[in-house]
């Protein structure tokens, strides 16, 4: 007897299920400017690398007429595949099947692939496109969400977890992406919120569109919930692939090394920075002048742009850059920039990625709004994250390093491994203007011409303290270097730190200021 008939039957069954919600629903998905769940997976993964599981899973709901409904794959596709030939686990919610709503079996498929990712120590990518809980399945869908959140937490810091928001992601569903490492959003397609515009209008009388409430731009720029912003799904997939190339597949390995490359020849590094510490420049130019091939993958580019975080390579190995951006808000630390940097530092530390800190900041942002928003609690996060990190920690002080900001930005006192300063560095308790006003208050106020004396005193303070040599004399700076030497000094420091091993006091876990 031939197996032919069985094989043909299998193919027919698969074809049927792979159509998801059917032609009409797919047409609707396309009209919304969205790809289907299957197209997305195929576009993201290496060609012919995707293998699916649980295709034949069916829901078991019995209430509200569900018993007669067939939901192909129960509205979600799970499987494994590769990106740049490195394995990943992936799930994609299928909006064409009952709006991608999450029921018990839908959740079980997701948790199955999550368990798999954690066990195999490979990255997990989740594509979210769902109307939310499947109301007909009641408490079973809530249970499903809970099981997902628990696994997100368990896997945190062990495997990279990436969430891609390609449709609505509302109510409880938003907490899975929030628990993961990187959230990707796409203009006009991503929508994330706890309560939607309808409820907000009926309860509070406030009218707002979905886009204004929880669109891609809102999360990329205002809330900080999103880490990458793209204008199309394909651009988003390119960003994910690029990120995957920079990060290790789990916390026991290092990122895959690339052949070392020189930075592209651009402006001379010392010509990027104005001498006057009050005049801005784009710190990204400094990063690009020291990273391999001048490549830099910025994370959270649009949120709190007064600090820059992201990945690059030096000598072929991935490093995490944390840098103040004098171009925006003078590069101050505030609630948002502290959150942003602290989380990135903890990511790098969890995944064995050395940290390179480039410093040029006047301190913390003053303001009632900042104080009332808890800048103490938020600002403490960056201190905590740097202190706790045991990966190689290298700091280069470009210009200003004033006050609490100096301590926070991976100073020697938080156990930085190497601290370098340019000759333009000003390491001081505050800027010359502020310091002179306090230290010489009496002389200034009692002078015949207070303004003249003030200027003299500012100049005096500048000459005495606004330099790297006071700190270098204490050994707080390891070496004052020429700007041109920056890359080679960092490369050497990274080499020396390759087998860095530090012992921290044994504990279950710390209690970071959240």
């Amino acid at each position: 007897m031939s197996l032919r008939n069985n094989i043909l039957d299998l193919r027919k069954r698969k074809r049927e299920i792979q159509k998801g919600g059917g032609d009409k629903a797919i047409e609707k998905q396309v009209q919304m400017g969205k790809m289907t769940a299957r197209e997305r997976i195929l576009a993201l993964l290496d060609k012919n690398s995707f293998y699916e599981y649980d295709l034949f899973v069916e829901h078991s709901a019995k209430d509200f007429g569900m018993e007669s409904k067939v939901l192909h794959g129960d509205g979600v596709i799970i499987g494994t595949g590769t990106i740049y030939n490195k394995p990943v686990c992936i799930f994609a919610q299928d909006f064409t099947v009952a709006g991608g709503s999450l029921g018990l079996m839908h959740a079980r498929k997701i948790t199955k692939i999550m368990d798999h990712a954690l066990k195999m120590r490979v990255p997990l990518i989740g594509i979210n496109d769902s109307g939310g809980a499947r109301i007909q399945e009641g408490v079973n869908s809530l249970a499903g969400y809970g099981e997902i959140f628990f696994r997100n937490t368990l896997a945190s810091g062990v495997i990279p977890q990436i969430s891609v928001i390609l449709g609505p992601c509302a109510g409880g569903a938003v907490y899975s992406p929030a628990l993961t490492d990187f959230v990707f959003v796409v203009e006009n397609i991503s929508k994330m919120f706890i309560t939607g515009p309808g409820v907000i209008k009926s309860v509070l009388g406030e009218e707002i569109s979905m886009e204004e409430l929880g669109g891609a731009k809102v999360h990329a720029e205002l809330t900080g919930n999103a880490h990458f912003y793209a204008t199309s799904e394909l651009e988003c997939f390119d960003q994910i692939k690029k990120l995957i190339s920079f990060i290790p597949r789990n916390n026991n390995t290092k990122a895959f090394p690339f052949p070392p490359k020189q930075p592209l020849k651009g402006e001379k590094i010392e010509d990027i920075v104005p001498v006057d510490p009050r005049i801005p420049y784009d710190m990204r130019e400094i990063i690009k002048s020291i990273s391999d091939s001048s490549e830099f993958l910025e994370v959270m580019e649009h949120f709190a742009p007064n600090i820059i975080v992201g990945f690059g390579r030096m000598g072929g190995d991935t490093v995490g850059f944390v840098a103040n951006q004098p171009m925006v808000l003078a590069g101050v630390l505030d609630t948002d920039s502290s959150d942003k940097a602290a989380r990135f530092i903890r990511y790098c530390d969890a995944f064995n990625i050395p940290l390179v800190t480039l410093e040029d900041l006047p301190g913390y942002l003053p303001g009632v709004d900042q104080e009332h928003a808890g800048v103490i609690r938020h600002g403490a996060k960056i201190l905590y994250a740097y202190s706790e990190a045991t990966v190689a920690k290298i700091t280069v002080i470009i210009r200003k390093a004033y006050g609490g900001g100096y301590i926070a930005m991976n100073s020697r006192h938080l156990r930085a491994d190497f601290v370098f300063a340019w000759p333009t560095a000003e390491i001081a308790v505050m800027g010359p203007e502020g310091a002179a006003n306090i230290v010489f208050r009496k002389e200034i106020s009692e002078a015949e011409n207070p303004e003249l004396v003030r200027q003299q005193k500012i100049q005096e303070y500048k000459e005495k303290f606004a330099n790297p040599y006071v700190a270098a004399a204490q050994g707080y700076i390891d070496e004052v270097i020429e700007p041109e030497e920056t890359r080679e000094r960092i490369l050497h420091a990274l080499k020396v730190s390759e087998n860095k091993d530090v012992l921290l006091p044994k504990k279950k876990h710390g209690i970071p200021p959240f």
């Binding site: 709190a304 010359p432 502020g434």
Partner: protein, 110 residues
């Protein structure tokens, strides 16, 4: 999404820095010292009843009006013994958050 922005002045500890502002920084709510004689809504909602009129003498703790929000009837009470100066809302009116509802003054002016 990144548009070129002009440089502005940001003063930190006496030094003036040339820098760009973020949308969030420019839209921040500027602090105003609260006026104890103004009663604002703490939540958007609907005025469902008003129990006082201008010139009424009211004791601390007495209910001035009911503001329904989030399906709850919130009693807005007099914070101290005093007098109603003016009422800026009407019955059944829907008001936003931080809307001036009532102006009052304390009983004894020192």
């Amino acid at each position: 999404m990144t548009e070129k922005k002009e440089l502005k002045n940001l003063i930190i500890e006496g030094s003036i820095y040339k820098t760009q502002f973020t949308r969030k920084y420019e839209n921040r709510v500027k602090w105003q010292t609260p006026d104890p004689n103004c009663i604002y809504s703490i939540i958007p909602g609907t005025i469902i009843d008003i129990f006082v009129e201008p010139k009424d003498k009211v004791k601390e703790g007495e209910t001035l009006l009911l503001l329904e929000a989030m399906k709850m009837q919130n009693q807005v009470r007099m914070p101290f013994d005093g007098e109603i100066v003016n009422i800026f809302v009407k019955k059944d009116e829907t008001i936003p958050k931080k809307h001036l509802m009532v102006k009052i003054k304390p009983a004894i002016l020192k």
